[in-house]
């Protein structure tokens, strides 16, 4: 190798063999950094024990917090059917899926949960749900920390779901001979997660149908996230259900109420 460096220092064009050798060293140095030039290079080349515990690329914490509330009319209904609503921190259960894409081409979905668990509501009242899944009883998971480097974080409106803890009844109007229009039971929607939807707009961005999120209030994709930064998605709004005759329900032709169910929200995105 000495003759190779002599060639370089004397500004001669090195021979192919020297060039290959120096290129190889350069490649190793670029891949391994300073560690590639040290006797510990073998450990660095097999980084399993070294990299995972004592070093890391850096982290990107991703938060999804829910500041959504229950509508006052809904809280009154909860109390009327015997659910415990004394906790001032009682909040709707929210489930969110965020897609995280990494610089190495891999991607994954992260699931977040926030809001009161269902047991807090039914402990002293009637249990409306026959089976309570872990999404409703598990501890809130409001943040997850991923490795750098992240090329995109995508939260789609339909991946934000709000749990409506009561049944919703759907009615329809039917004409009965000699009686007139009669409201008839159609179906019951059991307690479940409902995905949020963005307003329908025309080509001028005028709202045609009001739904759960305005077009400016929906989350957008975050691209090329700086290593070490923190991402926060915060949901604000109120869980509302329509009532007909004091019962959570709607008529199947009440398109306005159906479109805006289960309430109006906005997502605030912050990066620091």
């Amino acid at each position: 190798m000495t003759h190779c460096w002599r060639q370089v220092l004397s500004r001669q064009q090195p021979s192919c063999g020297c060039a290959r050798a120096i290129l190889l060293i350069a490649a190793l140095a670029l891949v391994g950094g300073c560690g590639a030039l040290s006797p510990a290079f073998v450990d660095f080349a097999l980084p399993a024990e070294y990299a995972s515990t004592e070093t890391a690329r850096g982290h990107i914490p991703i938060y999804f917090l829910s500041n959504a509330q229950f509508d006052t009319e809904l809280l009154q209904y909860f109390a009327a059917i015997g659910l415990d609503v004394s906790d001032p921190n009682l909040r709707p259960r929210i489930r969110v899926i965020a897609e995280v894409r990494f610089s190495d081409g891999s991607s994954r979905n992260l699931e977040f949960l926030d809001g009161s668990d269902i047991n807090e509501m039914v402990a002293f009242g009637e249990n409306e749900g026959a089976f309570v899944s872990s999404d409703l009883t598990s501890a809130p998971l409001t943040n997850q920390v991923v490795q750098c480097d992240v090329t995109a974080i995508v939260v789609r409106p339909e991946d934000i779901e709000v749990y409506v803890p009561i049944s919703i009844t759907e009615y329809t109007w039917e004409e009965v001979e000699n009686v007139g229009m009669v409201r008839r039971y159609l179906r019951t929607y059991p307690p479940r997660f409902w995905p949020l939807r963005v307003d329908d707009v025309d080509e001028n961005l005028n709202v045609v149908t009001t739904r759960n999120l305005g077009i400016r209030d929906a989350p957008g994709p975050l691209l090329n996230v700086t290593c070490g930064s923190v991402i926060m998605f915060a949901l604000e709004g109120a869980l509302r259900v329509p009532f007909v005759g004091g019962i959570p329900s709607w008529d199947d032709d009440d398109t306005l109420q159906i479109a805006v169910f289960p309430g109006r929200y906005r997502v605030i995105t912050a990066v620091r």
Partner: protein, 227 residues
Amino acid sequence: MSIRRWFPVPGVMVVALLIAGCGEDTSLLDPTLFLSPSFVNYAVGGVVPLAPGESSGFILVRAVNRTTNAIEFVVTVEREVFAIQTFEPDADDTGPTTELYTYHLQTFPGGLTNEVGILIDCPVIRVGLGEDLNSPADGQGLIVGTGDEGLVVGSGVPGNVNPLDSRAGNFSCGDTLVFDAIEVLGVVGNVKVNTFVLSAEGQPATFSGPDTFNSARSLVDQYTAEE
């Protein structure tokens, strides 16, 4: 094209790297000018913190999967909370009590999806695998199997590691706790978990990049609904 024509390019980069130095105090130039910040942090550190630090009020729990299977880490955290008399008017004791919180962290083999973490508010008493911290050799500390659209589906195996206990000095507020799963033949599920603690005291006081965890604290405080 002749290899000799390309020779100066890597040569210049090697020189630049050497100028950049091998450590925080030896670089003449900021190495992140030439290399990605995450790579520099990985190699020599000093760009972004790896432990939250006591001022952030967090501990970071990292689940690292260095096997060829998808693994769900069932992480249970025991925290000290204060009972509030408002909700239990007949309670005799309004002092501190402990509560358990269980989190399911999904990891997938290979690539940057092999690790995920969670920030936990201090004070934290114990952190371990499985829902029962008093029986680490029983129950499901890990779910080992395959990843299906972001969820791990498989069979449960015990974590078989004693929980880390702050009262025993295993960790302090601000530290990073690592549960590192490696592939070992002959054990249940062919998975063995080692635990490591990265002390916040061992990392630099300042960083050239974002102050990740103190920023997380200020964001959480800003956006958490007032009680």
